[in-house]
């Protein structure tokens, strides 16, 4: 039996409790796994990989001359979340996204929260992604972050903590949908009567969200997905989502701005575009306003947005809300705007920007995780307990040179999950990225991307750094 020699090593494990008993919501899975031999499982995994390669479900590894495409490693043992736990996550995420959107509106309008000194003004105004061009510009329905991917981890006692909010161009949702498709095809008998909630509605909900923000509430708006191009690591996802929604996937050169309106070039001439789901960073959107050397953008796009002739999802300037320094204040935001206690806690954060915190950080580097405020993908990060002396010194200098750009957190304990390794099943650290859509109402995809650090002991789950993923099952509430 695959799980017989499994050892939780006294860490919080998703499948087994402290007494090494299987948790109730994993019972059925365990029984099904026990009926499978290792050979059978290996064969199925091979089938899965062939399926992914044939369908081109791959991401591109950068820094590789030939632009090698790799399959995002997939672990077939699903992560299961019971209905009551999911309810807490869902409530917490709705609360959080509501506060973040109110915060963004406030920052770009009255700035009440800054005037009331709940958040220091300089933190916001010095954020790399703060966009003064959008002060006093209204965006449709006052929504800034329409698509958010919030990373959650579990503390030692199993409570969910927010690790970061990704409110610019979060990626990964296509893997959620493809993983589910693959699991159904290769492990149909694992599902059985497990009562797993479907993830099929995501594309329809996303399209609904985009249509909701059409300028002047235009009926039947033309929506497009703007991609940096097929060299981008997430290109597969861009084309996958466009196909699922039945909208065009466009590159910057397919769009043109005439008299403040955006059009796409078609074989039949120009066609007006109302909503753009953009997967390009602010910096590259419009060479007339942001980076002059951008070859991906559309000259004049920002003006079209400012004039309210086209809507962007996510809006320009949301990076100020998912800045890792701003992160430290989200709990205060929730209190300030909603007068509620945060449902989901977050990781204690020290700000190098603050003199007292900085002193603490510099004194405790070997114990802390240091992160650059605006990086993603697991880059620009120091994991103190695992770093060499040289790396620690390098970060010390970086922090001193540019304190605004760094934060530090105590090492957090990701939960572990049984994961197939060469020859056996072992515990590997996992996180969870649920996807939140804010439109007419807030949709949370029941599931999300469970990323797993495949290297033993590692807590870096990013695909670019040796991470894989699991199908994530959110269960229907048990029938009364």
């Amino acid at each position: 039996m695959l799980l017989d020699s499994y050892d939780t090593e006294d860490l919080f494990d998703e499948m087994f409790d402290g007494g090494r008993e299987v948790r109730p919501h994993y019972q059925l899975l365990r029984e099904r796994l026990d009926t499978m031999s290792r050979e059978e499982l290996d064969q199925k995994i091979k089938n899965l990989e062939t399926l992914f390669i044939r369908q081109g479900i791959t991401f591109t590894v950068y820094g590789d001359q030939r632009g090698t495409e790799r399959v995002f490693p997939f672990d077939p043992i699903p992560r299961i979340i019971p209905a009551d736990e999911w309810q807490i996550i869902e409530d917490g995420l709705v609360q959080r996204i509501t506060a973040l959107n109110l915060f963004l509106y406030d920052v770009y309008h009255e700035r009440k929260i800054l005037r009331d000194k709940v958040i220091p003004e300089e933190v916001v105004l010095s954020a790399a992604h703060y966009r003064p061009e959008f002060v006093d510009v209204d965006v449709p329905r006052d929504i800034y972050i329409h698509i958010c991917g919030t990373d959650l981890i579990r503390d030692r006692d199993g409570s969910y903590l927010v690790l970061e909010d990704n409110g610019r161009c979060p990626s990964g949702v296509s893997y959620v949908l493809e993983n589910r498709m693959a699991m159904k095809r290769v492990f149909p008998n694992l599902f059985g009567s497990a009562g797993v909630r479907s993830v099929d509605s995501y594309a329809a909900d996303l399209l609904g969200t985009l249509q909701y923000i059409a300028p002047h509430a235009k009926p039947d708006p033309v929506c497009v997905l703007l991609t940096p191009g097929h060299y981008n690591s997430a290109y597969f996802e861009h084309s996958f989502l466009a196909r699922q929604m039945g909208i065009e996937i466009v590159e910057g050169r397919d769009l043109i701005v005439v008299d403040g309106y955006v059009y796409m070039r078609t074989t039949r001439g120009l066609l007006q575009v109302d909503v753009i789901y953009r997967r390009i960073d602010d910096d590259f959107l419009d060479p007339k306003v942001f980076r002059k050397d951008s070859m991906l953008g559309v000259p004049g796009l920002v003006e079209a947005v400012q004039r309210g002739n086209v809507a962007l999802a996510n809006a320009i300037g949301t990076g100020v809300a998912d800045d890792k320094v701003t992160y430290a204040y989200v709990e205060k935001m929730i209190k300030y705007y909603l007068d509620q206690d945060p449902i989901l806690k977050q990781v204690p954060t020290f700000l190098a920007w603050d003199e007292k915190d900085r002193g603490y950080i510099l004194d405790h580097l070997p114990e802390l995780v240091v992160k650059a405020a605006n990086e993603s993908g697991g880059y620009g990060m120091l994991i103190g307990p695992k770093a060499s002396k040289e790396e620690i010194e390098k970060f010390r200098q970086l922090i001193i040179a540019n304190p605004r750009n760094y934060i530090a957190q105590p090492v957090v304990y990701f939960s572990r999950h049984p994961t197939l390794t060469d020859g056996t099943v072992e515990g590997r650290h996992v996180d969870l990225r649920p996807f939140v859509l804010s439109g007419e109402r807030t949709h949370i995809l029941p599931g999300g991307l469970t990323r797993v650090a495949l290297k033993k002991g590692s807590i870096v789950v990013n695909s670019s750094q040796g991470g894989g993923s699991k199908d994530t099952w959110v269960l229907h509430p048990p029938r009364k």
Binding site: I53, R54, Q55, G56, T60, Y62, G67, G149, N166, R168, C169, P170, S171, P228, G229, H230, Y231, N232, S233, A234, Y235, S239, F240, A242, R243, E248, I249, V250, E251, R253, D254, I256, M264, R265, T266, T267, R268, R279, I280, D281, F284, P287, K288, K292, D293, S294, M295, L296, D322, E375, S376, G377, Y379
Partner: protein, 343 residues
Amino acid sequence: MLSRVADNLYWMARSIERAENLARLMQASTELLLDSETLGSRYLNDYWDPILIATAMEEHFRELYPNGTAADVGPFVTLNEENPHSITMCLRDARESARTVRDQISDEMWTELNDLFLFITSRATNSLFQRAPQNVYDRIIQGSLLFHGITDATLARTEGWQFIQLGKYLERADKTSRFLDIRVHGGPDGTSLDSIQWTSILRSASAFGTYRIEVGGEPTAEGVIDLLVFSMDFPRSIRFCVREIDHLLHRISGSPAGTYCNTAEREAGRLLATLNFNGNGEILERGLHDYMDDVQKVLNTIGQSIFETYVLLPQDQLRLTFIPSSEQQQLRWQVLQQQQQQQ
């Protein structure tokens, strides 16, 4: 439909059709060589030159293999990734084009094309090619035919389909005309070829079986020209392809048959009329090479005009504040920007 999408669909189809035709040409030529062992080594060395010329690869070949021999031609045309026109590179182009328009084609089309690409770039194929090149060519031909068949069975007959067909037929007409030309290149006409060589040309165009049924007897210049240039029914004849092109162009623009609203339509209509009213007499009188040369020129004009009419971006979009100095730098810069980290 987005102009860029139309362009990519067109080139996807052209590239895969090109790979298929190259594979068939190589297959037929290798077989012909086996029948011609008595011809002597001088002939052997000259044997591949016309093939390299007809496929526009001669210059690259001399560059990569300054002392190249007949044995180098097969790997060069088939698998070499430094030869931008090799079969592998055609399939790479086809797949890249397909990748950028995946949302517009069926899953089955993508999977087949991706499979074929994974096959041609695999290490196993490399060693298979050393042992049994014919098996590799078989797989390429089969893959392309399968792709076209899947397209036929799974794709709606909308504009995208029309651009795919345009790419396919333009490439096919061009290649048929080049195959006819290969053995007569440099000679005064086609009459001096023997029936073995005509057979090889027929095989290159997958037409040998049809020839036996429709014409019969030992292949002759007149018979081959009738089938490969003028047949109304054989799907690889030039006339058949041009008729399809003419029809597709009118479907796309909506202008009535017999009229034209752009250069592509005018040139296609004119070429079709010529083919409708000419016969093998005109070709043999003028010389096969000259006649085919003219056909290829018109096909090029049609391709160019399709691009100008439906794809070309107005100049204003290209006016950037930042202009990279060389094309290579531009490409590198673009790749770098596209690779921005996603959250």
